[in-house]
Point group: C2
Chain length 448, copies 2
């Protein structure tokens, strides 16, 4: 909402002019209304929520922050609660039940009708990252021998609201999915056409246990609005819609960003996450990496004589390890993202590795040449040192990119999340490798 | 497509059994057909493409790789070309025109009808990252005083296919956008209801010059299927649909991953990008960062006496700089992603900084304590060295997180892409800072 409107709402709230607030809010999108209600005190939010129109209220409710939802549920009578719950989709109810404390969950479940309660309980059992966990059960069933006219009638009377009505599903007596019917095809066909002539048989579908990220990519690959979800016997049990898939794509990317920067993914947006939670999410990996970096330290202790004799060698260490780390994380990032988007598969391993080997040779040669010139410029006459540093740099870049190719693919092969094999871990490993190469070469050339 | 089908297609292709290939392909999704045609030789792809059904052909064409599109366009007669072009949406034609070489573009433009040609030329002028560059012009206009029945008739006869027909737009005589009408509301209203009573007036819209990433986030925030696009005078000029918005969200995340790993974003998927292009995209930043890392080297030259006297000091350098870099990139990643998702705004600067300061104090204290114990364990009796390293570590973590808070937000303030201020650059800066702190403390305490 624009700032002027927010200011006007603040003024009205101070005057306790709830009726006027309600009027302004009902002229706005339910997402904005929910954002506004989540920004004021839960007590005020509850008062305003209770004066909203019934139909608007349920839409707004689905977008509220969990703590405001909880406050509102506690404050509502059973009748009010049942009204709101009736309007929510099963997937929204499942989310709600997962977020709320147990005592309130009981009240929520008591106030939805028994058949939906059974569905909710069943849906709660699907694993966290599965298609089952983001699907909803509201969908329109059609039969093959219906006419277009009958189908449109059924959809109009279906009591389901939202974009879900744009796609209907044809099932047989055993609920096995036979075809998908798009509203646009119904509208463009004659009234007496049979559904079996309108339905699409080469539809894209998914199963309850498919990873939800994969489902997100199906939407993006095939430009779909909905994907039907079947159980392991091919029976239609739900549908995932594009808005939930978009959320999944955005969340999964955020999770990868966090993992790749050595953080435990957070459950809430940054501004709503406390200092202790943030510190906890970040500390684990920092500790692991700090301890791992000790390996480089231990390697270095072997070369103490070398530093003492040639302190100049030490000054090239940050350049060498940083460049190795950067070269490695370029590759690992490319491969992690490529695998997340299914652009790179495990079977591509040798093609990818061969490609990275050639890229690293090209990049490494240019870097080594520039570095050679730079060392000579700042330390005239030190040709041997310049050579040692440049050869080490070339080898470091090549080995870094090889390690960074293998590690994410190996992680995936072993069933771990490739995003863990990103910049921080690669940097730590490459550090140890590059310093070993550097001082081994230096010692043998300089005869220390 | 499943592997068995791909193998069957390979066999049929060897037998030149194009008719049978066509039959198999027409039973599959057009995206899969396009993927298959892009995987075989352009010559074979063209032969198969020409035998496909007309309506299927255009759908398939839109999903083909640019080089296959180009080959097919060159091989087609003007009549065939015009047939395919007629079926494409304006946004698909604009993409095509942008990808193809000039000589072929002329043939394409010659074969679309003049009014669409004008639209294409106008759309080509919108900046690369704008809503204008991803919108299409096919949309259904309704008038306020139409009835629902008339509106449905108009939509049925509109000659537009695809999900775009689920949303219509109400405009006045000057094409100013007054309201949005959802098909679901038309279907649920009586035949004689007036459009002005069905249309939504608090609709979300965007302008031609809005950043396309922002448009993507509007879709994800408000759960929309389409967003109307107006020019700077509020006139309706196009519409962005969810499938294009999903592509934008995925591409923008990929671009951020690449930028944040110090790469120039690539235009094609990894497997289709050549070795030279990859090397070029990666070399620029590696060079810049390598040269910048020289600063750390220069700082270190000042402390050569210190290494010579206490070679042990050198062994803690990798642990110190790596931990600083990791702590910094955790923060910069959080802030870059938070700003990309509009969860963190520039006006939050002081709140974010204060939060990061407290987080870094907590994290830094734990790391410093663990490190103190570890140094004493491996180097018994070296209490002074352990203290120097641990205090440097605490300060490094705190300063790293402060720098990593400021830099992305400063970049945004200056109109640069915050994603550039990620791990690699932060690491380089933090290296210089942490080494300065470390050796300054060491020199003054040890009296070197």
């Amino acid at each position: 909402m624009e700032n002027e409107i927010l200011e006007r709402l603040d003024e009205l709230l101070e005057l306790r002019a709830f009726k006027q607030i309600k009027e302004i809010l009902e002229e706005h999108n339910e997402v904005d209304t929910a954002e506004y209600l989540s920004s004021i005190s839960p007590k005020d939010a509850t008062i305003i929520f209770r004066v909203l129109n019934k139909e608007v209220a349920a839409d707004v409710f689905a977008y509220l922050e969990p703590d405001v939802q909880q406050y509102i549920v506690s404050a509502m009578t059973d009748t009010e609660l049942a009204d709101v719950m009736d309007e929510l989709f099963v997937d929204e109810l499942v989310d709600l039940v997962e977020e709320l404390p147990a005592s309130i969950v009981q009240r929520v479940l008591k106030n939805v009708d028994p058949s939906r309660r059974a569905t909710i309980n069943q849906f709660l059992k699907y694993p966290d990252n599965s298609a089952g966990s983001i699907m909803t059960s509201e969908l329109i069933h059609l039969k093959m021998d219906m006419t277009v006219k009958e189908a449109i009638e059924r959809i109009r009377n279906s009591d389901i609201d939202g974009e879900i009505i744009y796609t209907s599903y044809v099932t047989d007596a055993k609920r096995k999915l036979l075809g998908v019917v798009h509203m646009k095809d119904l509208l463009l066909s004659g009234d007496d056409t049979l559904i079996e002539d309108v339905m699409i048989e080469d539809f894209i579908s998914t199963t309850t246990v498919t990873d939800k990220e994969e489902v997100g990519h199906l939407f993006s690959k095939y430009d779909l609005l909905n994907i039907p979800v079947t159980d392991n016997e091919g029976r239609l049990v739900g549908v995932v819609s594009i808005d939930d898939a978009v959320d999944v794509l955005v969340e999964e990317a955020t999770e990868d960003f966090e993992l790749m920067a050595a953080m435990k993914p957070s459950e809430k947006p940054y501004m709503q996450t406390g200092v202790f939670t943030l510190a906890k999410n970040r500390l684990v990996w920092l500790l692991v990496l700090m301890i791992s970096a000790t390996i480089s330290g231990t390697i270095l202790t072997k070369y103490q004589v070398a530093f003492a004799a040639y302190p100049l060698l030490v000054t090239f260490m940050p350049m060498l390890t940083d460049t190795g780390g950067n070269a490695g994380s370029q590759t690992s990032t490319t491969i992690i993202r490529g695998m997340a988007l299914s652009e790179i598969e495990l079977t591509d391993f040798f093609r990818v590795w061969w490609k990275e080997l050639r890229v690293s040779l090209l990049v490494g040669l240019v870097l080594a040449a520039v570095n050679f010139g730079r060392v000579l410029l700042f330390h005239p006459g030190q040709v041997t040192i310049a050579l040692i540093v440049s050869v080490s740099l070339l080898l470091t870049v090549m080995i870094a990119k090889s390690i960074a190719t293998m590690m994410p693919m190996l992680a995936k092969r072993l069933g771990a999340d490739p995003a863990l094999m990103a910049s921080p871990l690669i940097t730590t490993i490459v550090d140890a490798v590059s310093l070993t190469i550097y001082f081994t070469i230096a010692q043998s050339v300089l005869g220390i």
